[in-house]
C-alpha cells in the first residue's frame, strides 16, 4: 500500500508525462487553447490510460514476456515474443479507443458530446502508448501498473488544464508576431516544467524498501562505498 502511494505521487508530480517525458505533446499543444476542451481531453486521457495500461500489462505478462506463455504449457518457457510488443500494444489501444467511442455514442450521447470527439485523437496520443511501453522497463505488479496509469493520467490532466488556463489569460498579452501561438506556448511550457522540477526535491512520504536497504548499507559500510566510488571514477576516466 505504501508503495502504491509513492508510485501515485511520483507519477503525478515527479515523473509527469508532460514535463518529464514530453509524452502526448502534440495534442497537449493543439487542444490547450480553451480551458473547457482541455479539461475534456484530460478526462479522456485519464480514462483511456487507466484502462489500456492494465490491459497492456496483462498482454505483456501473459503473452509477450519471455516465459509468459507457461500458463498454456511448460514447453513454451523459452518463447520470447517481445518483438511483437509494438504491434500488440498499439492494436489494443486503437481497438479499445474505437470500442469505447462506439459504446459511448450508443449509450450516453451527453458524455459522447463532451468526451467522444477527443477519443479518436487519443489513439495516436504518445502518452497512452508511452505508458504501455514503460511497463517492460519498470517491472510493475498489476496493482502498481494501475496506480501508475491513473497517476500519469491525472498528471497529464493537471498539465493540460493549467496550460490552457494560462493561454486563455495570454490572449490579452502583446506578444511579438512571429512568437505568437506555438513559440510563446513553448516558453510557457518550459517555465512550467521548471516549476514541476521543484517537485523532484520532495521526499516521498514512504521510503521504498530499496532506499531503506541503501541507508542501512551506507551506515554500515561507508569505507566500502568510498572504494566503490573510486572504482567508478577510474572507470569513468578510462572511458573518457
Amino acid at each position: 500500500m505504501e508503495n502504491l502511494i509513492n508510485i501515485f505521487i511520483k507519477s503525478i508530480f515527479i515523473d509527469n508525462m508532460i514535463f518529464a517525458y514530453f509524452l502526448g505533446m502534440c495534442s497537449y499543444l493543439a487542444v490547450s487553447k480553451k480551458y473547457k476542451t482541455a479539461a475534456g481531453l484530460g478526462m479522456a486521457v485519464i480514462f483511456v490510460l487507466g484502462i489500456t495500461v492494465p490491459l497492456n500489462w496483462l498482454a505483456y505478462n501473459f503473452l509477450l514476456k519471455e516465459g509468459a506463455l507457461t500458463w498454456i504449457s511448460a514447453d513454451f518457457a523459452t518463447v520470447d515474443l517481445e518483438v511483437l510488443k509494438f504491434i500488440v500494444f498499439i492494436a489494443i489501444v486503437a481497438a479499445f479507443v474505437q470500442l469505447t467511442e462506439m459504446v459511448v455514442e450508443k449509450f450516453s450521447p451527453a458524455l459522447y458530446n463532451s468526451l467522444g470527439i477527443f477519443l479518436p485523437l487519443i489513439a495516436v496520443n504518445c502518452s497512452i502508448l508511452g505508458g504501455a511501453l514503460f511497463l517492460p522497463t519498470r517491472d510493475y505488479e498489476f496493482a502498481e501498473a494501475v496506480t501508475f496509469a491513473l497517476g500519469s493520467g491525472i498528471g497529464w490532466f493537471l498539465a493540460v488544464v493549467s496550460l490552457a488556463a494560462i493561454r486563455e489569460k495570454m490572449a490579452y498579452a502583446d506578444v511579438p508576431k512571429p512568437l505568437r501561438g506555438l513559440g510563446i506556448t513553448f516558453i510557457i511550457v518550459g517555465l512550467m516544467a521548471f516549476g514541476f522540477m521543484s517537485f523532484g526535491g520532495f521526499e516521498l512520504p514512504f521510503k521504498t524498501t530499496e532506499q531503506q536497504q541503501a541507508e542501512q548499507e551506507k551506515s554500515s559500510a561507508k569505507v566500502e562505498n568510498k572504494s566503490a566510488e573510486s572504482v567508478v571514477n577510474s572507470v569513468a576516466n578510462y572511458s573518457e
Binding site: F19, A20, Y21, F22, L23, G24, M25, C26, L29, A30, V83, L84, K85, F86, I87, F89, I90, A91, A94, A95, Q98, P120, A123, V124, N125, C126, I128, L129, G130, L133, F134, T137, P176, K177, P178, L179, R180, G181, L182, G183, I184, T185, F186, I187, V189, G190, L191, A193, F194, M197
Partner: protein
C-alpha cells in the same frame, strides 16, 4: 461496333502516350524542399514534438533518431500509397498503425542488434515513432491520395525537415549542456555544463526560441 472498339483502342493509346510527369518536376522538387522551411513539420505544422524534445540531449542519439524516423516515414509513406486504393476508408487508421508498427519493430530490432547503447538510451522513444504525429499526419494527408514516388519524396522532405530541427536543438543542448559535440570535448577544459540545457525545461525554451527565429524568417504568423 468495330469502330467503337477501334476508338477505344485509340483512346487507350492516347492515354499511354500522354507524357508522364518528369521524375523531378518543379512540383516534385517542392515536395522535397517545402518541408525544410516554410512547411516544416515541427515549427509550422506542430507535429512530432515529443521526440523532438525528449531525445535531443546529445547529438549522437538524435542523429540515430532522425535516421530511424526517416526510414519509417519514407517506407510507411510508400507502402500506404501503394495500398491506397485497396484500404477501406473506415479502418484506414488501424491499417496505417499496423504498417507503421511493423516498420518500427524492424527498426527497433536493427538498432538493438547494431548499436545497443544508443538503443538503450532512446528506450521508449523508438517505440513512440509509431505515434509520432509526423508519420500519421503525412500518411493521412499525403500518402492516401498520391502516387508512391510522390509519397516517397514527401516522406523524405518531411523527415529532413524534422531532422534538421532536432539536430539544431541537440547541437545547442550538447554544446552548452556538456561542452561536447558528438561526444568530443569542444569547450575549454574548465567549462562547467549548463544544467538548464540538459533539463527538459531548457529544451522547451530552446525550441520556443528556434520557432521564433524560423517564423520571423519565413514571415509565418499564427492567427
Amino acid at each position: 461496333m468495330s469502330t467503337e472498339t477501334i476508338e477505344k483502342a485509340n483512346d487507350q493509346i492516347a492515354e499511354v502516350k500522354k507524357p508522364s510527369e518528369p521524375l523531378f518536376s518543379k512540383k516534385r522538387r517542392q515536395l522535397l524542399s517545402n518541408p525544410l522551411d516554410e512547411d516544416n513539420p515541427i515549427t509550422i505544422q506542430v507535429l512530432g514534438i515529443c521526440s523532438a524534445l525528449a531525445v535531443t540531449v546529445a547529438l549522437k542519439p538524435t542523429f540515430v533518431m532522425a535516421v530511424a524516423v526517416t526510414a519509417v516515414l519514407v517506407l510507411a509513406n510508400v507502402v500506404i500509397s501503394a495500398l491506397r486504393n485497396t484500404i477501406p476508408n473506415r479502418i484506414r487508421i488501424i491499417v496505417q498503425l499496423v504498417v507503421v508498427a511493423s516498420l518500427v519493430a524492424i527498426v527497433d530490432q536493427v538498432l538493438k542488434a547494431y548499436s545497443y547503447d544508443i538503443w538503450k538510451e532512446l528506450s521508449v522513444f523508438i517505440g513512440l515513432i509509431i505515434t509520432n504525429c509526423i508519420v500519421m499526419g503525412r500518411l493521412e494527408a499525403f500518402a492516401l491520395g498520391n502516387k508512391p514516388w510522390d509519397a516517397f519524396l514527401d516522406g523524405l522532405g518531411n523527415s529532413f525537415g524534422y531532422a534538421w530541427i532536432i539536430l539544431a536543438i541537440a547541437f545547442f543542448r550538447e554544446l552548452f549542456g556538456s561542452g561536447k559535440l558528438f561526444g568530443f570535448q569542444v569547450m575549454p577544459d574548465g567549462y562547467i555544463g549548463n544544467g538548464v540545457m540538459m533539463s527538459p525545461a531548457g529544451a522547451c525554451l530552446l525550441l520556443g526560441v528556434l520557432i521564433w527565429i524560423v517564423r520571423s524568417r519565413s514571415g509565418y504568423v499564427e492567427d
